[in-house]
Every structure is written in C-alpha cells, then in structure tokens.
C-alpha cells in the first residue's frame, strides 16, 4: 500500500502511535479479565509504560486534534488503562492479617477516648438502673422490654431466677443457639449504636445508656434476691465480650457523630471520611467480638454451669481482648 505523505498533522500523530494504543487496549483488557497477577513481567511493564504514553497522547491530542472519534477513543482507552494500572495491590489474606496484627489494635488505641465514652454511657446507664430499682422496684417494668426478660421479673420466685441462670436442660444447643443468639437483642443494639452515631452522636449514646439501664435493673433484681454473684457469673462468661463489643461499637458511632458535629477546619464530608478510618475498624473489632460472644453463648454457657468457672473464663477472654488492644501492633522492642 502506498504511503500518503500529505497527511495533516493530527492524522500523522495518530498514525505514529496507533499500534501502541492497540497494544495497550489489548493489555488493559487482559488485565481486566485475568487480573494483573496472571500477567507476565513484560506485559505488566508494557501496560504501565504504554499507559503513561497514552496519557501523554491524550494531553497532546486535546491540543492538536479536532477528530472527535480519536479524542473519545483516547479518553476511554486511557481511563480503562488507568483503572487497571491503579488497581488494589492487596490480597484478601494480606488485608486480614494486617488488620489482626496491626491496624485493628492501633485504631482502638487511637480512639481510646471515644471507646471510653462508649463504656461510660453503658456504665452510667447500669448504675442509674441499679439505683432506680432499689428506689422503686416497679422501675423494672418500665425499663425492661417484656420479651427480653423471659418471665424474670420482681414477681418471679427466687427459685425460678436461679433455674434460668443454671439451666440444666438446654433445649437448643450448638449452631442453632449460636445463630439465634446473634440475631438477638444485643447484636441489633450494636449495629444500631454504630449506624445511628452518624446521625449525630445522641441516638448512639442514648441507646447504649438505655441498654445499660436494662442491665442495671436486671442486676439489681438479682442482687435483691441474693443471686448477685450467680448472675454476675452468668453474664460474665459471654457478657464481658459482648457488652464490650456494644460499647466499642458505640465508641465508633460517637466518633462518626463527633466528626459531623465538630468538623474543625475541614468540611463535614471530609471530617466524616477521616473519622471513618478508625470508626470502621472499631466496627469490625466489635463484630469480631460479637461473633466470639455468640460462640461462647452457643456452646459455653450451657456446658459450664459452675459459677467460678464462668467467671474465670469470661474475664480471661476479656483480658485477652484487652491484651490484643494494648499490645497488638506495637513495634517489637
């Protein structure tokens, strides 16, 4: 074929580079369908080099060419190549490992203040509930939702209360109990306190406080009947993990709400984005703790009936969590 020599400038520009663009298109498609990992060294190198060449071509073409077909082609090609060059380079295993080893506990330590607020909301709620009950036991009916109490109210006999704590005849066990539990009250509370935090802090704090109130009156009822330690053991075995999870979720929610309320120098959206870095990690930590608590609830609480064993297991697991938060991710001395 004879070469036309009287081509206009932009057509010559295109003719010189067309082969590279087509090669880039082929490589970008390959990267999209098969993934960068499966490409050979040469192909990956060419992809990066040709992509940068194409960005230059695009910048030049915008200046010198009026060919709409060419401009939109280059635009789309560069975008496709950009998206495959700047792809996440992490593997799922690497991400999970990094979270467990480093970023999870570091985020916990960084947002200690918000976590503390979460624990305070629940703790104060519990104290208020406890005092309210001794002020007037009828507060129990006001604060405690019926379906959660399961017949355990000031009207119940001490013997009944004891039988619930030391349940000799578990009807549902294992996986079923685990699943049922996870969709019980507390998990929903944890999701809500985190989610509601975004809509300004108040709902998260109130909900955690209310949860504390429930525990407070419930505890007071048992103390009143001389079952305080037994209930403490019953709650400890999974509650240390579970209630901490709710408080941590609340801390994450408060952190998001605080970013919306007090964005400082940045815009609200920007502040929310920055706060989200740690808050999301708090949510994941809380989720892990809830799953762990569900396992303990599903298998442990029915199997272990001894009060002291329950106390030891519950608080040991709590101590392990604390150790993870305090020690995890620190540079080895």
């Amino acid at each position: 074929m004879e070469e036309p020599t009287d081509l206009i400038r932009s057509a010559r520009f295109r003719k010189e580079r067309e082969a590279d663009w087509l090669r880039l298109e082929e490589l970008a498609t390959k990267a999209e369908t098969q993934g960068l990992r499966r490409m050979s060294f040469g192909e990956a190198r060419d992809l990066a080099a040709l992509y940068r060449e194409a960005t230059t071509s695009l910048a030049i073409a915008r200046e010198i060419s009026l060919d709409k077909g060419l401009l939109s082609y280059l635009e789309a090609l560069t975008a496709r190549a950009y998206l495959s060059v700047y792809a996440p380079q992490e593997s799922a295993r690497g991400v999970i490992g990094r979270f467990m080893r480093k970023s999870g506990p570091i985020a916990m330590r960084k947002s200690w203040f918000f976590v503390l607020l979460g624990f305070l909301s629940m703790g104060l709620g519990g104290l208020a509930g406890y005092l309210l009950y001794f002020d007037d036991p009828s507060w129990f009916y006001v604060l405690m939702p019926g379906e959660l109490a399961g017949g355990r109210s000031p009207d119940a006999t001490t013997g009944y209360l004891r039988s619930v704590i030391y349940d000799d005849d578990p009807d549902a066990s294992g996986l079923g109990a685990f699943a049922t539990y996870l969709f019980s009250h507390n998990t929903r509370i944890a999701i809500f306190v985190f989610g509601l935090g975004v809509f300004l802090c108040a709902p998260a704090i109130l909900l955690t406080f209310y949860n504390g109130l429930i525990i407070g009156v419930f505890f007071a009822l048992h103390v009143d009947r001389g079952l305080g330690w037994d209930l403490f053991g019953w709650l400890s075995i999974h509650g240390v993990t579970e209630l901490s999870a709710i408080c941590i979720a609340c801390g994450g929610g408060i952190q998001l709400g605080a970013a919306v309320l007090f964005p400082g120098q940045s815009t609200r959206a920007e502040a929310l984005r920055i706060a989200g870095r740690d808050a999301a990690k708090l949510a994941i930590v809380a989720a892990l703790m809830l799953v762990a608590a569900a396992f303990i609830e599903g298998y442990g609480r029915q199997l272990i009936q001894d009060r002291n064993a329950r106390l030891i297991i519950g608080w040991t697991i709590g101590g392990l969590w604390l150790m993870w938060f305090v020690r995890g991710g620190r540079a080895q001395a």
């Binding site: 206009i8 060919d67 077909g69 985190f194």
Partner: protein, 305 residues
C-alpha cells in the same frame, strides 16, 4: 471558626465527571446513574441469597439444623456471606462485584489513587446500615406500630435522598470511604476520516484559506458524525432521503463559504470528505497557534473580547 471558614476563597465547583489521576491528565469518567447501581445491587443480593439458600439446604440435608432454628440460621448465613462477598469481590476485581461487572459500572477512588482495602470495607459496611437495615425494616413494616413504621420510612427516604442530593451520587458509605461509582467507558477506535482520502479526489476539490474561515470545531465534528454514518452504513448512499440531506448540507456549505463550482450528485460524499479534510487541517493549524474556534460564531466572540 465561622470567620476562618469564610476567609477561604470559594473553590470553583469541580466537574463531577472528571477524575484526576496521578499523571495529571484529567479523565472524563461519567458518574453512574442510580438505575445501573440499583440493577447491580439487585443482582448481588440475588447471588448472595442463592449462596445462602444453597448452604442452608446443605445443612438441612446433613441434619445439622433443627426446623426451629432454620430461619435464624439462614438469616445468619445471608449476613455472613454478604459482607465478605462485597469486600472481597471489589478487592479482587478492582471495585467491581459480579452485579457491577454485568452493569459495566465500577467503584473508583475520588483522589485518583487506587482503591484501598479500607475504603472498600467502609463503603460495604455502611451499606449494611444504609441499604440492608432499611430493607429489612421495609419487609417487616407493621401496621400495628405506626411509630416504628414512620421511623423506618424516614430512614429509607433519608438514605435514598443522600445520593440524589450530591453530584457524584455518593451514598453515605461512599462519602466516608472517599469513593464513587462510574460507568466503565468502552474504547472504540474509529477510522481516521482524514486518512482515507484518495489523491485524485483531493485535487478535484480545492478550498481557499478564506473559505475555511467560516466554521469552527462544532460544525467540523457534526460533519464528522455525518460522514461516519455514511461510512458505517453503505446502503444509506442509495437512500433517497439521505441523498436529499447530503444535498442540502452541501448547498448550505457552498452558500456559506462561497464555493462556486457545482458538485455532481455522485461526488457528494467525496466533496464533503475533502471539505472535512481541508477544514480540519485549517482549524488544527489555527489551534496550534493558540486560536481555538469553538463554532461558527467565533468571529463575533473575537470582536467582543
């Protein structure tokens, strides 16, 4: 604090469709519409649900579950499959779940860098609070408790409004993660019209410099579309209405630029091609020397300035 914020000069609102990669050449990536995203979401929900149902059936067959707890277990499995599904697919396929692949949309990072694992986790965790929580609420709406219904309705309306109210159609999760969803562009390399002009045709129609001063880029590119349509569908050239269109276009051009010679009906496409070539060369030349002519009113604009 208020004073400080006012002191800052208001930045010009950036075009939501432009993404700036680290190379510094802005790319036009159209923000994806709500329809495509909704479609992708439905597909993904169906996929995860089928996965959960398959597992529940497996558990039931293996007698690992009792009928009383079946409902709780299936809800749990749906939940447990769902969250890692979104995060891991978007991590592995660079911001695309299976549903997004089908709808040809993709998550990108607003800062132009690659998506981080953190961003993907955040946007999908928030999806729980934004989509699935109101979704389940919607399914469990109960006429008996009007307050709960109103709250959940308000929530649903709120979460749907958020993406409609900002230009990049970001959900709350997108805002926290610093991401948004784009339509994936498809590169199609069309033939260069200026390249395929036979030499004898070029000599047949000659345009003088002053004849090319009338039009700008807009008219040139409109002509380009017309010519590409002729090229793509050769059958059109025998169509009577198409012929009439071409004739009227040629008459307009000849009238505007003062081209005296008659153009034979058989040569109409060839004439337009030659004119396109000459006009493009002329405009590109002008552009190189710093004079961008947007459209045929360029002369009026130049006078005003």
């Amino acid at each position: 604090m208020k004073r400080q914020r006012k002191a800052k000069a208001p930045a010009p609102a950036p075009d939501p469709n432009v993404l700036l990669p680290p190379e510094g050449v802005p790319l036009h990536l159209a923000v994806s519409g709500m329809g495509a995203r909704f479609g992708a979401q439905i597909t993904d929900i169906l996929i995860t649900m089928i996965g959960a149902i398959a597992l529940v059936v497996l558990l039931a067959v293996m007698n690992l579950t009792s009928p009383q707890t079946l409902w709780a277990i299936s809800a749990l499995l749906f939940f447990i499959i769902r969250i890692p599904y979104y995060v891991l697919t978007e991590l592995a396929w660079n911001g695309q779940t299976i549903g997004k692949r089908m709808m040809k949309i993709k998550v990108v990072s607003r800062d132009g860098l690659s998506l981080s694992a953190h961003a993907l986790v955040v946007r999908n965790l928030m999806k729980e609070a934004e989509i699935f929580l109101p979704g389940t609420l919607l399914l469990t709406l109960d006429a008996a408790s009007p307050v709960a219904s109103l709250i959940s309705l308000g929530w649903i309306v709120g979460t749907i409004m958020v993406p409609l109210l900002n230009k990049r159609r970001q959900r709350l999760g997108d805002m926290i993660a610093g991401t948004y969803v784009i339509d994936l562009p498809t590169p199609i390399l069309l033939k260069d019209l200026a390249q395929s002009v036979p030499k004898p045709v070029k000599d047949k129609f000659v345009f003088l410099s002053h004849q090319l001063d009338h039009y700008g880029a807009l008219e040139l590119q409109t002509l380009e579309d017309l010519l590409r349509a002729q090229e793509n569908r050769p059958s059109m050239q025998t169509n009577a209405r198409n012929k009439a269109t071409l004739d009227s276009v040629i008459a307009k051009i000849r009238n505007k630029i003062g081209y005296a010679d008659k153009v034979a009906p058989a040569d109409s496409v060839a004439f337009l091609r030659a004119f396109y070539n000459a006009q493009r060369a002329h405009l590109e030349q002008k552009q190189l020397f710093g004079e961008r002519r947007q459209d045929k009113f360029h002369a009026d604009k130049a006078e005003k300035d």
